[in-house]
């Protein structure tokens, strides 16, 4: 069962927007769909060792352009309380897809938590999609 929240954002600079968020627990080596934007893209994730692999499936009629090295993101990561056992992590991803007026830019922030006693990793994500 895929539980995702997808809602429209207030326009910014005249550009409409959409926010998608979801969370999923995965076993190592398992691939699963994390986010789905109908007619735009599908984001899959795969936990491989200590790495998180992402797959963007382009569902739009236009080309997909993955943006530069998202690992250099200057976003902040903050922790509160005893989060050490969960080994929180973070990753960023950006891409543009679609064509013409329907071309959109997606900025995805992913966060991870480890649950060693269950042998699972929780991957949560928020994607902000706006007209490019």
């Amino acid at each position: 069962m895929h539980r995702q929240l997808a809602n429209e954002l207030p326009p910014r600079d005249g550009r409409r927007g959409l926010v998608l968020s979801a969370s999923k627990e995965l076993e190592p080596g398992a691939r699963a769909m994390l986010l789905l934007a109908d007619g735009l893209f599908r984001l899959d994730v795969l936990v491989s060792g200590d790495s998180l692999q992402t797959f963007v499936r382009n569902l739009s009629p236009g080309p997909l352009a993955i943006e530069g090295d998202a690992a250099t993101s200057d976003g902040t990561s903050t922790t509160f309380g005893d989060v050490t056992p969960f080994a929180p992590g973070r990753a960023d991803l950006g891409f543009t897809l679609g064509a013409g007026a329907d071309r959109v830019r997606a900025q995805v922030t992913l966060a991870t938590l480890r649950f060693p006693e269950r042998g699972l990793m929780r991957i949560s994500a928020q994607a902000v999609v706006r007209q490019a």
């Binding site: 809602n7 926010v19 990561s77 509160f80 929180p88 922030t109 966060a111 949560s124």
Partner: protein
Amino acid sequence: MADYIRWRLAAARLGVTMAFFALLGGLADQAAAATSAGAGAAPAANFLTDLSIPAGGLNRVVLKLDSALATLEHKLNTSFTTTHKLNQTFLKIKSANTSFLKIKSANTSFLKIDDANSEFLKVDSTAANANELGGLSPQAFFQGTGSVVTGAISSLAQNGVATSLLSVPGGIEVSIINAAIGAGGLQVQISNPSGAALAAVVNTGTGVAEHDLNPGTTSFAFATNGLSPPAGQLHIQLFPNAGLAEVVTIIISLEESTTTNPSFVGQAFAGPS
């Protein structure tokens, strides 16, 4: 140049004077020759008073010489004036060469305005690729302004007191309340410091509903799966308003707990806007 002209004028006057004297000398010689031919030796020093020139002849010569001299002086004056005017009006080639740059030399040494305008950027101008990095526009790079906050509560006493779990950018505080079943049970409390109602969409695990979080705090009952040990997840989206610049997503889960002191872990995303 003017000095030179004056010198030439003086020299010409001197030359005319000398010619005049020479003419007089010639006349004197003629007179002397005539005298000697007729009367033998004659004094050479009195030629002015003993000329055989007809009366009025010397005056005509003098007048002619004066006329020639005047003509010459006029010519010299005209030439001097003309030269003076030329000197005032025009630049000498030699002076120009020493004072000014030749076009050919300038072309080889300096840049033309048109070429500069087409080749170089003006001081207050912005290059067409000024915003690019490595030939790529800013849109080609991910601008990671989003924030991630992770919090955990390892053992929450059942005392009905709000315990902070997350402090989200924008001033939003997320707390957990563990109260007795009769007092509300497990609750998630979210503060709204924005001063205006915050639109929210909440998935409690049993359904999705829209809420307006008024300024202050709002509590949601934390639904568990009813299993033993209980588990559950709360998923909230908060939307920007006048006091909240970025969209916020909060995901909180109840971890396995066999006691009345459950543990919680949560993550929040703020932005990018």
